[in-house]
């Protein structure tokens, strides 16, 4: 089979899985829906592997294939096919998305068992994976936008999965609105490109763009900035990031799926996919690099102070995506996508570990309440620690190689980029610190009552309440289920976390500088047109970067150890000493308040103005009221003529007849 045939199969399995679980939920017993959905994604992953093998069989210059199913639309000069593009980049994305999603499905089978909306959950999950695969396989901007919007809709459904929980639905709406802002940006960007090149097909656009647009011309920069709006909204970069921490309201597997491995990487994928455009508009690429750097340091600083376990990981996701955006913006495409892959492994692992801990706490997510789970949850402890090591970039883990490659490329560009690279190293230090802040505060120290209970063999299921607000809840559909599930007691959860832990450690071997550059060589056919193709940091620089990164990781971990383990009094002392800084961090740099003041409240005021002045005075009073008055005046005239007097009617008739006769007499003479 040709690679594109495999590509269609990759798309078909999740779609079929979604239909089966969505329509058959009534007849699927127990965990049946979960197994079917997991199998669908597993088959999709197998098809992606088939796609990889079929693609590798071909010579290097023929590794970009377009498979067309039918013409999607062809009207008014705009033609778009329902076509998929199979090249190394999309194959890589398919492998990462379907592979990690498969493990997350497996995890969810156990994790969501007691939830009343079990089958609905898996239908959503499959729909999400289908949308994401459509996004990465699309061969033109139209289909990309379709997948893009599907992903936004699926994330809305999943974030507000517990739809009776007010905080969850609010978070879902927030995510959806911000994603739609991104969609609009992407549509405008695609339109600007279409206006210039007359096509929406990737290859045609990339081919014609250099002829049509001059380098850094206004239109191409505008188009790239609009595409960036879309990418930043999906990838939670400043200032469109506020939805991501709130999206932690969804079930933990959703956080692992959407906010670690797949959806948030869509923006990085988009920038990498549109690299010929960004190389044509270096100004836009610089904006992207600067915003990526700002996000990575901002998110790392907030993660230092956040007390919600999942939010700490969410901010670390933002921070790591910032690295990827920086990477693909400075033309380090291989490095950025390498980090995308390793991050998908260790971040999904961290979320799964966090889910296990939260389950053991009976749904409580606050770090302040946790502690001492090491003995009661050894498997979770070790896998979480591995994930944290990879996140921190500890030497020889996967994150070590991928993150430092990005920074080495950034420093190699010189000029302004050196500043960005240095900021990246500072953030790496912070990353190591907050990663081990989680490990130390959750797993070490004195065991909390829940951990003690678990050591005694009893699982604490918590009192059913919203952890954010404390509101009472039942365990029916639309709320979390009655029981919690931890990795130590559920083999599917272990089966999901084990391979991820392994990959988080060893995935780095795909990209050891100077030794095994397998990953970059694989992506070469996609990026060989890049004008920075030959620009590489020297091996010495790369190893110096690795040493600096490794040092940052070790120092960060050591500081965290001193801070949380050896000298716990230091914590409150620092907090008091830097009370102002702490307040800013705990309030997430007041971004929510800023948006509230700048966007939400003026919007609400505008809405009120519309309702009171425009709607009730103008529309209701003038437009509607005026029409009603006019009709009423006309009808009262007609009514007065209908007086019921037969002789009056006869008189009118004769009058009319006489008038007609007179008229014809005058005309005829």
């Amino acid at each position: 089979m040709s690679p594109t045939d495999w590509g269609w199969l990759v798309l078909a399995f999740p779609l079929a899985g979604m239909l089966v679980t969505a329509l058959g939920w009534r007849v699927l017993p127990g965990r049946g829906a979960g197994w079917i959905a997991s199998a669908a994604i597993g088959l999709s992953f197998a098809a992606a592997v088939g796609m990889l093998l079929a693609l590798q069989d071909r010579p290097e210059d023929q590794r970009a294939l377009v498979g067309t199913a039918f013409t999607y639309l062809d009207t008014g000069g705009l033609a778009a096919d329902l076509a998929i593009l199979v090249d190394p980049l999309s194959v890589l994305m398919c492998l990462v998305v379907s592979g990690v999603s498969f493990l997350i499905h497996l995890y969810s089978v156990a994790y969501m068992t007691s939830d009343q909306g079990f089958a609905r959950f898996f239908a959503y999950l499959n729909f999400f994976v289908f949308s994401m695969l459509l996004l990465v396989l699309a061969a033109n901007f139209v289909l990309l936008i379709v997948g893009w919007a599907f992903v936004g809709a699926a994330s809305y459904l999943l974030i507000s999965f517990w739809y009776r929980r007010a905080t969850a639905t609010t978070a879902g709406i927030k995510a959806f609105v911000i994603n739609v802002i991104g969609d609009v940006g992407l549509v405008i960007g695609a339109f600007l490109l279409f206006e210039g090149t007359g096509s929406v097909d990737y290859f045609v656009v990339f081919e014609r763009a250099p002829e049509v647009f001059g380098e850094n011309s206004a239109q191409i920069v505008a188009a790239c900035l609009m595409i960036l709006v879309g990418a930043f909204a999906k990838s939670a970069q400043l200032p469109l990031h506020t939805w991501l921490p709130d999206a932690m309201e969804g079930p933990t597997p959703v956080s692992a799926l959407i906010h670690a491995a797949t959806m948030v990487t869509a923006g990085v994928y988009l920038i990498a996919r549109c690299f010929p455009l960004f190389e044509l508009a270096p100004a836009a690429a610089d904006v992207s690099a600067i915003i990526g750097t700002a996000t990575l340091i901002f998110a790392a600083s907030v993660a230092l102070a956040a007390t919600d376990l999942k939010r700490v990981i969410a901010y670390s996701t933002m921070s790591q995506i910032g690295y990827m955006v920086l990477g693909v913006s400075v033309a380090a495409y291989g490095a950025g996508l390498f980090h995308l892959m390793t991050h998908a492994f260790f971040k999904a692992l961290l979320f799964m570990g966090a889910g296990s801990v939260i389950a053991a706490m009976g749904g409580i997510q606050s770090l302040d309440r946790m502690g001492g789970f090491r003995k009661s949850m050894p498997f979770t402890f070790w896998t979480f620690t591995i994930g944290a090591l990879a996140l921190a970039g500890f030497p020889l883990t996967s994150g070590f190689f991928s993150k430092d490659e990005i920074l080495a490329f950034t420093l190699n560009r010189g000029g302004l980029y050196v500043v960005l690279g240095v900021v990246g190293y500072i953030a790496a230090l912070l990353t190591a610190f907050y990663a081990f802040r989680m490990v130390f505060r959750v797993f070490l120290g004195a065991p909390v009552p829940e951990a003690r209970e678990l050591e005694a063999g009893h699982m604490h299921h918590g009192d059913h309440a919203n952890p954010a607000t404390g509101e009472e809840e039942d365990t029916g559909v639309g709320f979390p289920g009655a029981e919690h599930h931890i990795a130590e007691r559920e083999w599917p959860m272990k089966a999901a976390m084990g391979p991820l832990a392994l990959l988080a450690v060893v995935a780095g071997v795909l990209g050891i500088p100077g030794v095994t550059e397998t990953f970059e060589r694989f992506l070469e056919p996609t990026f060989e047109e890049s004008r920075f193709h030959e620009v590489h940091p020297s091996e010495g620089a790369e190893y110096a970067g690795l040493a600096a990164g490794g040092l940052a990781a070790i120092v960060g971990i050591a500081v965290a150890w001193v801070y949380f383990m050896r000298n716990p009094g230091l914590r409150s002392a620092t907090r008091e000493r830097f009370a102002g800084v702490h307040r800013v961090l705990i309030n997430k740099w007041y971004f929510d308040e800023l948006f509230d003041a700048v966007v939400v409240r003026p919007g609400a005021a505008l809405g009120r103005f519309g309702r009171t002045v425009v709607e009730s005075t103008f529309v209701q009073g003038v437009l509607v009221g005026g029409t009603v008055g006019l009709v009423r005046a006309g009808t009262s005239l007609a009514r007065s003529m209908q007086n019921g007097e037969v002789r009056a009617y006869a008189a009118l008739l004769l009058l009319g007849l006489g008038g007609l006769v007179l008229y014809f007499l005058i005309v005829s003479t």
């Binding site: 007065s640 209908q642 019921g644 007097e645 002789r647 006869a650 008189a651």
Partner: protein, 99 residues
């Protein structure tokens, strides 16, 4: 004999009928006057038919007669109905269909 005499006579009869419809209040008389107007029309039709040597007008006059007969049947039926219910036999009193 010139056609204009017939037409003038027809116009006279029509005006008499119309004046009757307008001025009388008894439905019975109004019906009679309506009949006058219809027959004035018939007279004009037949006069023109004769002038043109064409039979169409005469056929049409027959049709008008049929319609007039039907109308009288219905009109008289209504008047008998009103009489039975002891309603006033006066068209000005019957204005319930006003808007």
């Amino acid at each position: 004999m010139s056609t204009s005499w017939f037409v003038v006579l027809s116009a006279f009869i029509f005006c008499i009928g119309a004046a009757g419809v307008m001025s009388r209040r008894s439905p019975l008389v109004i019906l009679l006057c309506l009949e006058l107007m219809l027959n004035a029309g018939n007279l004009a039709l037949i006069a023109f038919s004769r002038m043109l040597g064409n039979q169409d007008g005469q056929v049409f006059a027959l049709m008008v007669m049929v319609v007039a007969a039907c109308e009288v049947v219905i009109g008289l039926g209504i008047i008998v109905g009103m009489f039975r219910r002891r309603l006033p036999i006066d068209v000005d009193e019957m204005s319930e269909l006003r808007g």
